[in-house]
């Protein structure tokens, strides 16, 4: 390799595009290749050149993991109550309204039931498009209800996290959602029903420090940022640059906190295998 024409990738724009409009070329933030959006979409929003996983909306994860047919969504009517009457540069209620309009979601999680390779499951999928996937009372309550449905129906629970952590606008009530979901999961952990935690980019803060790291099996998508403190906070605290790859899924797995890193295209098959094996099925489905 001749060093003088090596490109310094870090200096190029690396803003990933969440909403990919029709008929537009998309630049992969990792390998800098221009991708036609239809091609990207066909490839589950994964760069066909380098495997970079673009952000994937909750609706697509639901379609990806569940069999076609009856899905039932639960608790879509839950809304934040703004218990603190919180206002910073804008009011929390305005932020909620803006995020609902922008994302088409009512909060940062959707909970559905359906079947995965003909096994009934409860699936909860967080969505970064709603206030950065932050966890407040609504996310906590919806998750707990999903856990309880898994307990009542004796079926597995799958949670896909995509979250910057707890939602500041609900103050201490947000922090308590960590304890609340952990407490609910105790009830499920008493049963031989799997809890599969899937972490996607990013999963940080209190989300990682409660249910996301508590799976019977902890999975991540490749390259996802996973950590407790955000990289900026750590950099500020220690006053040094962070090592390359720090807090990537690969780093977290290397340090022993992730069972598996699974590409999006393999996700359903891998989860299906795990569910079958954990529940002692004698025959591989399909």
């Amino acid at each position: 390799m001749v060093p003088w024409f090596k490109r310094d990738k870090d200096k190029l724009s690396s803003q990933s595009r969440r909403n990919i409009p029709d008929g537009v070329w998309v630049l992969c933030p990792v390998c800098q290749v221009s991708l036609y959006h239809k091609e990207l979409e066909r490839n589950l929003d994964v760069c066909p050149k380098c495997g970079h996983h673009f952000r994937f909306p909750s609706a697509k994860y639901i379609d990806l993991l569940l069999d076609e047919g009856d899905h039932r969504e639960y608790d879509a009517g839950l809304r934040s109550a703004d218990p603190l009457k919180f206002k910073d540069t804008s009011a929390y209620t305005d932020r909620l309204a803006k995020n609902t309009k922008k994302s088409g979601l009512t909060d940062a999680i959707r909970c559905v039931s359906g079947e995965l390779d003909e096994r009934p499951v409860q699936l909860a999928v967080m969505d970064f498009a709603f206030m950065g996937g932050s966890v407040g009372s609504v996310v906590g309550e919806k998750l707990c209800r999903a856990v309880m449905r898994a307990v009542e129906n004796r079926c597995p629970l799958i949670v896909i996290s995509c979250s910057g952590g707890m939602r500041m606008q609900e103050g201490i009530l947000s922090l308590m959602q960590m304890a609340k979901v952990s407490a609910a999961l105790v009830r499920l952990s008493n049963l031989p029903q799997p809890f599969i935690s899937i972490m996607t980019n990013p999963t940080t803060g209190g989300t990682t420090a409660s249910y996301a790291m508590s799976g019977d099996v902890n999975i991540s998508e490749p390259g996802a940022l996973i950590g407790f403190a955000g990289p900026r906070v750590i950099k500020q605290t220690i006053g040094e640059d962070l090592p390359k790859g720090f807090q990537s899924a690969e780093f977290v797995q290397e340090h022993g906190f992730l069972d598996l890193i699974v590409a999006r295209s393999e996700l359903k098959g891998k989860v299906s295998s795990l569910l079958g094996l954990l529940q002692g099925e004698a025959v591989k489905p399909g």
């Binding site: 839950l78 009372s137 309550e141 103050g171 947000s174 105790v186 209190g206 990682t208 420090a209 409660s210």
Partner: protein, 319 residues
């Protein structure tokens, strides 16, 4: 301990200094100042009451972080008749930002676990300013399991700016360590009583704070993120911390209103450091009463009630 005056305490301190000066003069017998001194003392009492009544939330933050405020080991020393510190997580090292041990608390054997800040630079470096690494939380969990095995109640004293945000902490699984404590505390068979004695800094505080009963000292604070952190994200300006403190509602009365905390433990006027003994007695009594009450329940009932309590937390609208 070095004297330390907060900005809002300055008028009071100045008045007290004037009284001291006059008393000194009077003692030397040069002039009759009794009348003046009595008058000023009355004024000072009134000012003291005014200074520490209706504190803003930001003033509470300052008191909660006061460098002379009693820390976990101070309370252990004042409250317990016997204390044996137990160290290490049996895995990596001993994290000195958390102290754990067995104690006799009002005649009752118990496990006591708390964050520990340091006084002065040297001790603060040793204690990492009360910011634990994962091994601190794992040590705490080990002692909780020990308490469970021997049927001892667990008392936790919470006082941390937060779990440490550093490279080693992430490498060794800060998130996982906190998550494990939340689950383990939710189902621990013995009674757990927590007291927030100073700063309740986010997940790093909660990792010792899942309990049957949670109390807060009068001037303690407990929040999802530090006021500075909140301000730098939402206002893009860390100097807006006082506004963030107001918006997040982080004081003991706030948390009682929100149903997060079971009770407020009164502090001596001006803060626990004005009379650590009195603060210690108040903590001791409240905790003992709670343990006595919790001990009447069966472990199964206690766990069930604890889980139900947490399942109720949060406020939402259902359409």
């Amino acid at each position: 301990m070095k004297d330390f005056t907060l900005e809002f305490e300055r008028p009071l301190r100045e008045l007290q200094a004037r009284i001291d000066d006059l008393e000194e003069l009077s003692r030397k017998g040069k002039i009759g100042l009794e009348k003046e001194i009595v008058k000023l003392r009355r004024k000072a009492d009134k000012l003291k009451l005014e200074t520490y009544t209706d504190l803003t939330r930001w003033q509470c933050v300052q008191l909660a972080r006061h460098p002379n405020r009693p820390y976990t080991l101070d309370y252990i020393d004042l409250i317990t008749e016997e204390f044996v510190e137990l160290k290490g997580d049996r895995n990596f090292r001993d994290d000195k930002a958390i102290v754990c041990g067995l104690a006799r608390w009002n005649g009752q054997a118990a496990a006591v676990i708390g964050h520990q800040k340091g006084r002065g630079t040297k001790e603060n470096l040793k204690r990492n300013f009360g910011m634990p690494h994962p091994e601190g939380y794992r040590k705490a969990l080990r002692i909780m399991r020990l308490a469970e095995k021997f049927g001892l109640p667990v008392i936790t004293l919470i006082d941390t700016p937060g779990a440490y945000p550093g490279i080693g902490a992430e490498e060794r699984g800060q998130a996982s360590a906190i998550a494990d404590n939340l689950s383990a505390m939710a189902k621990l068979k013995v009674p757990i009583v927590s007291v927030i004695i100073g700063e309740g800094g986010s997940g790093g505080a909660l990792a010792l704070g899942v309990a049957d009963r949670v109390y807060m000292l009068q001037y303690a604070v407990y929040s999802v993120i530090s006021p500075e952190g909140c301000a730098s994200i939402l206002y893009r300006d860390a100097s807006q911390a006082s506004h963030a403190a107001e918006a997040m509602k982080i004081t003991a009365p706030d948390l009682i209103d929100l149903g997060i905390v079971d009770g407020l433990i009164e502090e001596p006027l001006g803060g626990a450091h004005h009379d650590p003994g009195a603060a210690a007695r108040a903590i001791s009594e409240t905790v003992t009463e709670a343990i006595n009450e919790l001990s009447k329940m069966s472990p199964e009932d206690r766990i069930e009630k604890r889980i139900e309590k947490y399942l109720r937390l949060g406020k939402w609208i259902e359409k």
